[in-house]
Each structure stands twice: as structure tokens, then as C-alpha cells.
Amino acid sequence: MPMSHVADTRAGEAAAELKPPALERSRVAAQLASLVSSPTNIVLTLLALAIAYAALVPAVRFLVVDAVWTGVDREACLASTAGRPVGACWPFVFNRIGFFVYGQYPIAERWRVNVTALIAMVLIAWALAPSLPRRGIAVFLFFVPFPIVAFLLLTGSTALGLEPVPTNLWGGVLVTVTISLLGMVVSLPLGTVLALGRRSSMPIVRLVCVVLIEVIRGVPLIALLFMANRMLPLFLSPGMQPDSLLRVIVGVCLFASASMAEVIRGGLQALPKGQYEAAQSLGLGYWPMMLLIILPQALKLVIPGIVNTFISLFKDTTLVTIVGIFDFLTAVEVSANVPQWSSPVTSVTGYAFAAMFYFACCYAMSRYSLAMERRLATESR
């Protein structure tokens, strides 16, 4: 906010001559000055610098300065070979990156994963970039033909001459992204339906939705995954055992939908009652009112909450390892233990790399949501 000197027009004759106040010192300069403006501030500043130094310097040292960049096996990353203290063992990551990304997906068939990923990225970028034309087509392609194509490509189909690849060979980023993406794509609409149901005027619909949301939300994801993995087979006949990856995906989708439902309910409740009444008074039925008036506004209000749920979901996929699914983090952990690369720094390197991967993905989602909020905010102003 600029200072309010401009409004000072009491003196009529002075008003014409008043100039805007001299440029304030920039905010950065003001903030810097406040760092040393009193003895307490000086002490706090020094303390903060010391903490930053203690945290950053070893990190940079480990990840860059002392890091080993070339090599073919564990020998390169041993202090005895290098003749100096060693930091991150990057050759390990370079060497195992294929395994991190695809797991045990047969090497000859990995192009199928790449093709699927490429299609997905093009469609997602097209659908999400506000400047591109005909984004509706991208959304349609992503939700209708793409899942079929992706399913056929990834699992294979003898009819199409694609060798079947059972899901127990899938792993790494492929599994992490598959679970997260399906979780996001399912939880937004399913969560919306649950949220609407919870606010429905029909008692039975409301009861069903409340029970579903509260039961799923009241159980840890790990418990839900165990139930999906271990208990579901007990109820189903041996002939119709669903794929174990599919079971986990169902569990994750349900869990994310229940959280999403509560986020969206917050948005529905934040809308003034007048919006519902105006829509009703125009003769709009329930679904047109919800789809055209209420949900566009409610969802916009809770974009931060939706993205927060997406980010949690993405990170929570690391829990699937507990029921034997081979996600990205598991691939990293397993690789760190192979004898070829076993060294004191291997697993730390692996975890550092995993952290960077998760951070990059989550940060990208966060930035996109901020940009979208800004765009939607200007649209209706």
C-alpha cells in the first residue's frame, strides 16, 4: 500500500502543488536495515546466519563439492579410492536411473511407458496451459481415450502384438505417477459427488455420504491399504482376485476422495446462500445450478485445499511399499542395497535424489495452483 499522503487535500492552495512523497527506501533495504537495528536484532541475525551456515554448507559440500560424478561401481564412491572424503555418489543415480523410473518393466518394452508418458504430458500441458486453444478437446482426450490407450500400452495386449507386462514388474516413477495421477483424477469428481451428497436434502443420500467420508477419513491410509490388499481377497472368490496394484489404487482413490470431499464441502459452505437462491429463483434445477453456478465458484475458493490434497496424495503414495508395491522410493532403497553400489554414501545419495524428485513435483503443483488462482481472481474482477 502506498502511503496516504496523496489524500491530504485539506489545504486547497497547497493541493495543486503537492508532490508525491519522496521515494521510500525499497522494502528490501528497509528489511535489511531492521536486521541490525537493535542489539537483540543483531544477536538474532547472527544466530540465524549461524544456523543457515550450519545447514547449507554441509549440504552443498555433500551434494556438489565432495560429490563423485563418474564411476562404474561402488569403488568410485569409496573414500579409500578417491583419496578424500566423498559426498554424494552420483554415478549410482545415473547408473540406476532406468530402474528408478521403470522398476522391473522389461527393458525392451520400456518405450511403451515413454510413449504413454509423452502422450500424458502433452495432453496435461495442453489442458492446463491457459493460453492454448481448444483446451476442452485436451480434457476430453485425457479422460476418455487416453486411459484406454495407456492401459493397453502399459499392460500389453496380445491382440495388438504388445507383450503383456504383469503389474508386479512395474515399479519406480511409473508406479508412483500411475497411482498419484489416478488418485487425483478420481478423487476430484468423486470427492465433489460425496461433498454434494453430504449436503443433500435427501436423508439417505446424506447418511451414505457421511458414513463413507467419516469411515475412510477416520482410518490411516496404511490401514486402508492393508485392508485393500489383505482383506479384500478374503471376501472375493479365488477366481476374481483383482490385480494387487489395482487394489492399492482403489484404496488410494477412496482415501483421497474422502479428504477431497471435506475440502470441497468447505467451499460449498463458504458460498453465500444468495447464490443458491438466485439460481433457484431463475428456475434452474439441481444439477444445472450446481454445475454452472455453485461448483465453479466453490472449487475456485478451495484451489489451495485441492492442491494441498493432491500434494499429500502424491507423497502418501510412498506408503504403498508396505503392501509390496514397488514405487519410486522403494526402487531407490532397493538399489542402494545392491552389492555393486553398496557404500557408506549410497543410500544417503539415493534419499537425497528422491527428496529432490518429490520436491520438484510438489513445488511444480504448488506454483501452478498459485498461477491459476491469480488468473481466476483477475477473471472475475
Binding site: 453465500p272 444468495g274 447464490q275 437462491e277 438466485a278 439460481a279 433457484q280 429463483s281 431463475l282 428456475g283 434452474l284 434445477g285 444445472p288 454452472l292 453456478i293 465453479p296 465458484q297 475456485k300 477473471e379 472475475s380 474482477r381
Partner: protein, 257 residues
Amino acid sequence: MTDTANRGAAAPGADEAVVMSGVHKWFGAFHVLRDINLTVKRGERIVVCGPSGSGKSTLIRCINRLEEHQRGRIVVDGIELTQDVKRIEQIRREVGMVFQQFNLFPHLTVLENCTLAPIWVRKMPRRQAEELALRLLERVRIPEQAQKYPGQLSGGQQQRVAIARSLCMNPKIMLFDEPTSALDPEMVKEVLDTMVSLAKEGMTMLCVTHEMGFARQIADRVIFMDSGQIVEENAPEAFFTNPQQERTKLFLGQILA
């Protein structure tokens, strides 16, 4: 629409826009409407006034079922209001409503606000709906704002858009719920002018307002409510100059003072 001359001449029933008989409503234990009997003829302009909490807003909100009455009958445009959602939507299509807080859709442009219901409820082609909307925006004298969002308009302009939005459904009855109460004083007139011109064209109107000048100018009848009851109803001149009930006198003394 009929004009004043042939009102009351047509067959009974067909001539009545709204019939309320023995209507009661409670909010929890609070008895907000008590035995309301009211008949509004087609083309008639009714102004409803009364102290705050007297049930006047609830009364007109019962007519398009934003509030549900619990006893008695309400017949709107020959259709009785029941739990039947089809009937409720049928009535809402014919009854326009203007709110105190405008309640425009902030995520849609002025034009989209106006075309939404014709397109989705009347199934009108978009082109035709836009022509209709522009015509009505011109009638409320803000065609140049069509591409703006409601948040960019003044209160008076927003309320005129709200009137145009209702008119786009070509309603037979218009309900106004304190349409000028949320406006800055200098914007009241532009909204009232719009309502006056609407009244002069023969629209059936029920209007909750404290704008007594407006009531004098266009109302056929003024209804005074207190504690959920219709205390007095009369032609505006008689209502203002010669109120019959003590409560009416007290109320008029307060607002005209």
C-alpha cells in the same frame, strides 16, 4: 399482460396471479407467518411494508418456494405449490425475483448472467438469448456493461442487471425483496425508475420496500405486516393519509417522520 381496465372482468381463477389462503409458517418455534390470505390479480402492483422481522420477506419468498409454507395453500399462476419439484421449477420459471443483495453470479459476465437461465431453462439458442439479454440490458440502460463482471459495476448497476436477468425469463410475476435497501442513496433512484417503468408496462409485481414515494406512485395496494400477520391493506392514498390500525399509524409515524 392485462391493463387496469379489464382486471376483474375475466373468469375467476384465470385472473389471479397469486392466491395465498390460510398460509402459516414457522422458523423452528417462531411463528413467522400467521394465517396469510392474499390474492394478487394479474397486472396488480402490491407493495408490502412493515417493521423488520414482520415476515414480509418470508411472505414473498414463499411465492417462489425459497421458503416452504407449512400450512395453507399457495397457488401461483394457476399452479398449486406442493413438494413436487417439477411444479416448483415450473412456477420459478414464471416468477422473477430481485434480491436485496443483488445475488449476481460473480464468475459470469453481465451478459452470461442474463443468458444463463434462458439457455439452460428455456433451452433458447445462444444467439437468440444474447439478443434478448442485450435488449433487456438496454431497457435497464446499461447495454455498454454487457461484457463486464458484476464486481466491476456499482450497486445500482448491479441491481439493474439483476432486474434484466429476471426479465430475460419473461416472467409473469416479479418479486422484489427490498431491492434498494443495500444501495447507496444516490443509486436508489436509478433502480426505482427501472421498477416504475416495469410497473407502467403492466407487470404483476410484489415489492417489499420502504420507499413510500415509490409505493404512492405505482402501487395498487399497500399491505402492512406486523408479527407475521397482514394488519392492514389499502390503496396507497388511503393507506398513507388515513391508516385504520394503531400499529400502522405507529409504523408510518416512524418511517415518514
